[in-house]
């Protein structure tokens, strides 16, 4: 039984709280939020104590691990403090919006050698995971191309967009990680194009884009395409296509049920895709937590490490340089 304390009781934090509480191998030891009513609510729901401060948690020697689901600007600091306190860490992505800060954080925590897992939940989606396994089993031979479609169902609020670090850091970051996971090799060249098409007015206000296409190549010549949009009206569009020498794998979108309608003017109509990540990746969040708990219990390295967080961010920074220069940008692997 792993005792886990939760930092951050917002939307994603509450999801993690419930997953920890229902996990047969974990116990929700503490919850904390800078806005205490959020912490109180989670605590009451799951019957656990509310921490008054970060230190309450870090000083509790019974706590094995922390789950960091606070706002992005606090991630690196909490990682450092938790590592110093010897806690295993599961931290929501991104580690930080600045690659420099991430690399500094890496140095800071290195001596403490605690298990750390970054919350790239999509790697744990049953469908994407089955694609990866089929790939690794050789079912499509050598991988040639990866196509990632990733579109949110609706524009996030302006307040979020203003501090998110931009489309390529807050949204594409997941795709950069998934691309690395599927490619099994580092991209060495990144090219990006982007536009403000969904809501040019809001984009102008927050100095961002809402639509993007990214193209990457690995040293061995594998090609990868990513497309993003802040708004797909038909639901959260999350597809992975792996094309190889002996076949293709498609991890397709999911619906919450399988009703199909037929009428005089149409056939096979179903409901739109699941609304957003809480529903679409519900199983992925559970599996991500399971993997973390197992890594901590077995003292094995987590499946998605600090390096993965840094490397995805390095790709996002390269993509931004590409946008600025109109050229493909070489990526220096972080090591």
């Amino acid at each position: 039984m792993i005792k886990i304390a939760l930092f951050g009781c917002g939307r994603i934090g509450r999801l993690h709280a419930a997953n920890i509480a229902h996990n047969p191998n974990a116990e929700l030891a503490w919850v904390y939020d800078v806005y205490q009513p959020s912490a109180d609510e989670a605590a009451q729901l799951h019957g656990c104590p509310v921490a008054q401060s970060v230190d309450d948690i870090l000083n509790d020697r019974a706590v094995d691990a922390v789950l960091i689901a606070t706002s992005t600007d606090t991630h690196a600091g909490l990682i450092e403090a938790s590592a110093k306190a010897g806690k295993a860490i599961l931290c929501e992505k991104p580690i930080d919006l600045s690659l420099d800060r991430v690399l500094q954080c890496a140095k800071t925590i290195a001596p403490y050698n605690v298990p750390i897992q970054i919350g790239f939940n999509r790697r744990f989606d049953p469908s994407h995971r089955a694609a990866k396994q089929a790939l690794d089993n050789g079912q499509i031979g050598d991988l040639h191309q990866v196509i990632l479609t990733s579109r949110d169902p609706q524009m996030a609020p302006k307040s979020y967009l203003a501090t998110s670090g931009g489309l390529l850091r807050d949204m594409t970051i997941h795709d950069f990680d998934l691309a690395r996971f599927m490619l099994g090799e580092e991209p060495v060249e990144v090219f990006a194009q982007a536009s403000a098409l969904v809501n040019p007015a809001v984009c102008a206000e927050v100095d961002d884009v809402d639509s993007a296409m990214i193209q990457m190549k690995t040293a061995s010549g594998k090609l990868c395409h990513i497309n993003n949009s802040r708004q797909a009206v038909y639901g959260y569009d999350q597809r992975v296509e792996l094309f190889g020498s002996t076949g293709m794998l498609i991890s397709d979108n999911q619906r919450s049920h399988e009703l199909k309608q037929f009428a005089a003017d149409q056939a096979g109509k179903s409901e739109p895709f699941q609304f957003f990540f809480l529903e679409r990746y519900a199983k992925a969040f559970v599996a991500e937590l399971d993997a973390f708990i197992k890594a901590v219990a077995d003292k094995t390295p987590p499946q998605v490490g600090f390096d993965d967080g840094a490397k995805a961010l390095a790709l996002a920074e390269a993509a931004y340089r590409s946008l600025a220069t109109g050229t493909a940008v070489s990526v220096n692997p972080v090591d």
Copy 2:
């Protein structure tokens, strides 16, 4: 090169005329229709002579075969005359609305021993045919259940319904044949229920039903279900499901193209199914003709013989007796 004369230049006759004219191994030798303008039109389109009488054709020794696409009440007579004239015969279903007349026709033509094929086109549909081949290849092990869905896109005109012989003879006859083809065994017990649901008023006028379910069992215990409707607003609904000990085969509906639409209230919407048999079974009609030409050229028995026409009709008559009595009706195999 097989010289084929066509009796009947209505909708289905015109389709056959074009298929004969485009077939590299056949020549459209004559066309005939009691309503001469129809024959003239077909003749002009395909550059062939118009016969003034049935005998013009039957007396022409250059004619190898006849294709009978006239009204049902003339089928048996034309079969008999053509057999006496030594012509190979491809006759549209049904042979006749009366099983007695069919059996009499069988006796009449027996001495002439001409190749005769009945126009059960569905056996030649690429999708249904692939299902049959997969079944015969053992891909689903032993066959346990056959489910046939067969619904027309819209009610036929009252004039047709009044003389069609009724739903089970004009429409289900195709399903009875397809059931026999797929089961590979004769049904020995037939049960039917039917209703006037699509258009009770017209049904009352023509003393018929427009919706039916039929259930059959073979001697070895295989089970078969058929459902019919005179009107499926989403298009011609033609599905075959074969369920066996090691798998299932579904020959599904077809669309003329593969556009799928996604919007705020739906996903995966496509156009309705192909409208009706001329489109849905276009390839089947071509393949049916190919098979007939090949049988005539190779002097091998046609794949769908006179017996098949008789046995499908026997099932229709059994189904009508079941409707009348509310009991399952035993079928005496025709031999």
Copy 3:
């Protein structure tokens, strides 16, 4: 918060225990099983007391409701005892294998007027439920035909088959209920055919069949087909098709993820369907419990009442008479 005691801690009982424990509006008050280790295990998992006897539970005035998931032969007795104790009841299907016993039970409990819900979980499946709602919203106009496909993934153990009441009582009972739910009208005529095709040897030993087709008609002429098999190797096959005057609805099978594979010899291959009812109807069991809890809390009649249990069983008995006589059997509505 409704306090619910659980009778029976077998496979389905454990599922219900977890659902009650996780339900925000319910509390698992007691668990009981004649085999106490099963009860102990469930109790430990969910932190609730183990009852030593049925009376421990029925005498506890804090208990609002009981969930009966014991063996079928104890259902009617527990319903009667629970009703006398004034408890709301959620009872797994079937109420009993004998319609006479069911009708007697109905009389016994009538005076106590407790809320009682029968565990026809399929009515609560999101996909089937959406079909029913679309039907009720008029999206396919008037309902003409209902087609139910219901096949288990593998033969149950012989010990189960020997006491199950037979295919039509233990398996088709769900389809009889679902047919009534979808038809919105009572079937008045039932016809059945059945065979031993999956495992004739075991069928002979337990004097049962393993494959069946049933056909029913309502007073207004609606037609319904059901097909069953004890073994569909490709997974639990659960489909509902509703055909109406202006469209069709298909509640299709579900997979646990959406990976599709393409290779030199195939396209679009996915994993088999979800294995069995615990997975396929996981959401349905949760929704069923929610509906029960809400009915108890709101003092409204449960959505699936005792009558529904009796009527489904009456259809099963009619189907058995049809098998025995080879005729369609008229059903006298239970009232």
Copy 4:
């Protein structure tokens, strides 16, 4: 009735010969091929004369139009000669491998003002065409992204590859045209990455690549991705995705029939996609010819003009420059 002469009786020429011969509004006036036996064969099949020289055809005043299906290096010359002779022209793509030669050809033929259509058949595919129509009808609002997947079923012979002009000129040229058709706007920035992954050895010999990804942007910010491979083992992979402000359209792959297989280890398996362009775009070739005949008869401009051929080639040249430089390349619209 339009009299059409055919230059070139290879694989694609024979397809066009049959389409002309079967077209009710056209007549196959002549066939010509530098390798006369090919012309003889086509002539015999369709009953038309064989020309001994190009001039036989161009001097025949009865000839309304020519269809140029010869090798690429003869296209521009035949276009010029045919234009001078006043013939309407349907020319297979590409006009030439060199944009300079194409622009020179444009100047040469300008004075003769004959109707000229370039053989970008994909625009006439029923499924892609329906996507375009739905887009133009506003069904997905404003277009934001276009995703084109275009993969051949197998590597072309080395002899072809050596003179084809390279992957981006012989294969992607179709996608450049389709992109322009769908975008409704000229791409102004092109970026390409490519690799030799399918068969590096052959690629080295012919100095080409076999796998490519291209990304383009229009002046208004629309984004377009194209991916290509010389070999998709599961069949000719031809997909169009249009993503817009109120929905998405997918023109998906097609199979020649709709059989789906289910077994213990899989569900929904169908045959691979149609093998190659002759099958996949059979209807498109017929529709393309229809459109050309109608344009000639009605004296309206063909739907795909000489300019379209030039502009697609300009995009290919830009893509090659991008490959060479690693930067996005600005496209100067040809005008």
